[in-house]
Structure formats: structure tokens, C-alpha cells
């Protein structure tokens, strides 16, 4: 029983890691997306290159680059910090594309109506475009957040004491059968993910029923 309690003790670390990375991504994706949509090539081309590169390399490689690679520049990060940074930066790229998809789904007539009313660009963005884009992007954002939650387990490879790290420890200590320990670990992730997905689906349906034809 102690083994299971020990594994559960990693849950706060797993959740913190996922939520912090998601927060970095959710905020950092905004400037990245605006740069990607900018008219100026000077903004658009680097943003696009950054997004492509971040998504082209596996997250675990980014994790190693941040944790081990940066030591060559005398930057030594704690494993947890390195994990938050690596997963956060990768999330910026994915979420920037998800946001962009949301904005692209908006009918251009919404922009024209805002302009014709004499709204400032800032107001049009904040009150007309962003809410509609967010609504479109919501299912994709939740899907990404759940994938990110599972990717937090990568942090185990650099010694962050999250759920999977502790499960691995317990199997080696032999306190319980490896199968039951791993099934327990799987259940933890599932219990976190499935209700979130259901909630998101319900929210999406509720929002959609208001605006759907």
C-alpha cells in the first residue's frame, strides 16, 4: 500500500509541471501567433520557422537539450525547471497553430462589420474576434492539454520525481507486482484525462448550441 501512496505523492509534481507548461504555452503562443499572421515578412518568416522547428523535434530531445545542452553555456537548471521550460516552449508552437486555426475559421465579414462600426482594432480583436476564435479552438486546446499532461512523464528521464518516476522506483524496489504498479500509474493518468475530456465536450456543446444555426 505504501508503494501506491508513494506513487500518488508524485501527482502534485505531475500536475504542476503540466499546468505551468500549459500556462507558458497559452501565453507565449499569443505573440508567436500574431507574428505568424503578421503582414511583415520580418515577423512572419521567423515565427513560422520557429513553429516548424519546435514541432519537428521530439519533446524529449528538447528536454535533453535544455537540461544537458545548456550546461555547456554554464546554465544549470533544476530538472523540474528544465522540464517546465522545454514543455512550455514546445507548447507555444502547438498552441500558436491552434489559435491561428481558430482565427482563420472566423468569417471575414466579422472583421468588416467591426471596421464599419468604427471599432478600434484592439476592441474588435478583444470582443469580436478572440471570443469566436477561442470557441472554435477550444476542443483542439483541450486535446493538446491532455497530450501535454501525458508528456509530463518524459520528465522522469531527467530525474523529476513525478508519477512515472516514482512508479519506476517502486517496481525496482519490488514492493508490489510491476503489472499492478503500472496499471495503477495508467489509471492515474486516465482518471485525470477522461473527466477533463468529457467536461470539455460538454462545454463545447453548450457554447455551440448558442451560436449554431
Amino acid at each position: 500500500m505504501d508503494a501506491y501512496r508513494e506513487i500518488l505523492g508524485g501527482l502534485p509534481t505531475t500536475l504542476m509541471l503540466g499546468l505551468l507548461a500549459l500556462a507558458i504555452g497559452a501565453i507565449g503562443a499569443l505573440p508567436l501567433m500574431f507574428a505568424r499572421r503578421a503582414r511583415s515578412l520580418l515577423l512572419r518568416v521567423p515565427a513560422r520557422a520557429a513553429i516548424d522547428l519546435l514541432r519537428a523535434v521530439p519533446p524529449i530531445v528538447w528536454l535533453f537539450l535544455v537540461f544537458f545542452g545548456l550546461t555547456e553555456f554554464d546554465v544549470t537548471l533544476q530538472p523540474f525547471t528544465a522540464s517546465v521550460l522545454a514543455l512550455g516552449v514546445v507548447s507555444c508552437a502547438y498552441l500558436a497553430e491552434i489559435y491561428r486555426g481558430g482565427f482563420m475559421a472566423i468569417d471575414h465579414g466579422q472583421v468588416e462589420a467591426s471596421q464599419a462600426l468604427g471599432l478600434r482594432r484592439r476592441d474588435a480583436l478583444r470582443f469580436v474576434l478572440a471570443p469566436q476564435a477561442l470557441r472554435v479552438a477550444l476542443p483542439a486546446i483541450v486535446t493538446y492539454a491532455l497530450a501535454l499532461l501525458k508528456d509530463t512523464s518524459l520528465a522522469y528521464t531527467i530525474g523529476v520525481r513525478e508519477v512515472l518516476f516514482r512508479a519506476n522506483e517502486e517496481t525496482q524496489l519490488g514492493a508490489a507486482s510491476p503489472l499492478s504498479i503500472l496499471l495503477f500509474t495508467a489509471a492515474i493518468y486516465a482518471v485525470l484525462s477522461i473527466p477533463t475530456a468529457l467536461l470539455a465536450r460538454r462545454l463545447d456543446t453548450a457554447l455551440r448550441s448558442k451560436v449554431a444555426r
Partner: protein, 292 residues
Amino acid sequence: MALKRRNRGETAEHPPAGDGTVDRVAAVLPAPPLSQAGEPRAAGAPVVRLTDIAKRYGDHVVLDGVNLEVREGEALAIVGPSGAGKSTLLRCVNFLEQPDRGRIEVAGHAIGVDEKPSSRRLAELRRSSGMVFQAFNLFPHYTVLQNVSFAQRRVLGRTAEEADACSMQLLERVGLKDKAAQYPARCSGGQQQRAAIARALALNPKVMLFDEPTSALDPELGLEVLAVMRQLADEGMTMIVVTHEMNFAKNVADEVAVMCDGGIIEQGDPKQVLVDPAHARTRQFLRAVLER
């Protein structure tokens, strides 16, 4: 301005409401006199003046140096075949399209095309006009009331109470009071378009621009929108209406302009131009309309 705008409806039988206290809300839509359509009206000062407007997309000339003037209280209909440049011309009035050449003047705000207008001057120009689109373009995440109130608060700086009070009056005028709390998706096309008209009127525009407002509607729903537009015209609102509704052009508009291939080929009294056109191309177009 609000008082002067009534001039079209003011006749001996229907003098203006003489209380002289026109508050901001009432100024949006003065009390409607009965229809005076067909009677000659005193023309006011020009509200919209387009000078030598040209626009091309690559090699394709959309507008070829168009001049147009609309006077206060005048309802101008623009008709003509597809691709003639009607909508493009209308969209130049509030700079949704930037012309390549020419000068645009709306209610004293002038923008020449050789300059790059600042966003503040563009906003001033756009604030003087209200636009109604073919596809309504209501904000789907706002209720009908919020759609009408939103820009009043953000653009005119009205409080929520002021804006909502004004909106409810406008919604009553377009017959949508009971739809105020509904989302646009729950409204018929005709209701949505009437809400869009209320939304544009809420900013006290000097001129209303209608871009084929009934083309996306079935004939019945189109009629309820046309009725609201007719009421507006009778109340003396200055309007430019791009339309294929020949009855509206003939019976409600004070003036009609026929466009073809990027220019105005004929302009004048609708009862003259649409009944006995001088231009062969106009005759051809009208024959096609009648044969439908």
C-alpha cells in the same frame, strides 16, 4: 443635424415634432411621418462626395474614375449587372476597399487616396456611416441586444444603461423588441438583417450604406427588410443602396445610378431611368430583370 435630417418627411401636412428637445436617443430615429414617397423634396447639402474613384485588381479595372454625390436626406439606389463595381464603389465610401485613386468625403471627413489615412481618421470616416451587409454579419456570440449596444459603448462611450435604452427603442422600431435576448442564430434571416440595421443606426450615422441587403433572403423575408428601409428613407435618412430590387429603386429611391463595367452609365430620377432609360445597356439590363 438630427433635425435637419427630417427635411424629407416635413411637409405641410406633417410638420416636424415641434418640441425642439431632441435627445440623443430620439435623434436616432425621429418619429415617423407617413410615407411621402414620390413627392419632390428639397435637396440638402452633400453628405457623401466621391471624386474620380478608381480601383483595379491586377489588370482588371473594377472602378474607372467614378464621381458620385449624395445629398442629405437623399436615397440613392445603385443598380446594374454583377461585376459592374456596385459593391466595390459602396465599400469605398467607408474604406472597406481602398481605392487606387480619388477622393472620398463623408460628412465633412475627407480622405484622399494619395495619403495613407491614419487609423484615427479612418475611424472618424467610418463612424459617419453605417453599413448593412448582404450576409448580415451580426456578432454570433452576442445577443441581438448586445449586438446593437456593443459599439455604442465602445465607440460612442455610452454607459450600458444608455446603450441598452437606445437599443431597445431601435429594436422596437425595426419590430424586434421581443428578440432582444435571442442569439442571432435563433433569428430568421429577415430578423437578423433588421437587427443589423438597428446596430448600424445606433451610432447615429450621417449616411446608411446598404450592400445588397435582401439578396440572401427569400422574397417574404426580404419584404420585411425593405419595409424597414422604406421607413428609414421616408424619415429622411441619407442612404446609398446597392440592390437588385427594382421596385424599391423605383418607388422608394429619390435617385438611381446604373453602373456597368466600372462606371455609372446613367443616373437620374428612378421613374425616368428605370422606365424609359436612355442607355442601350440599361435597357438590356432592365429587360433581363423583367424577364425573371
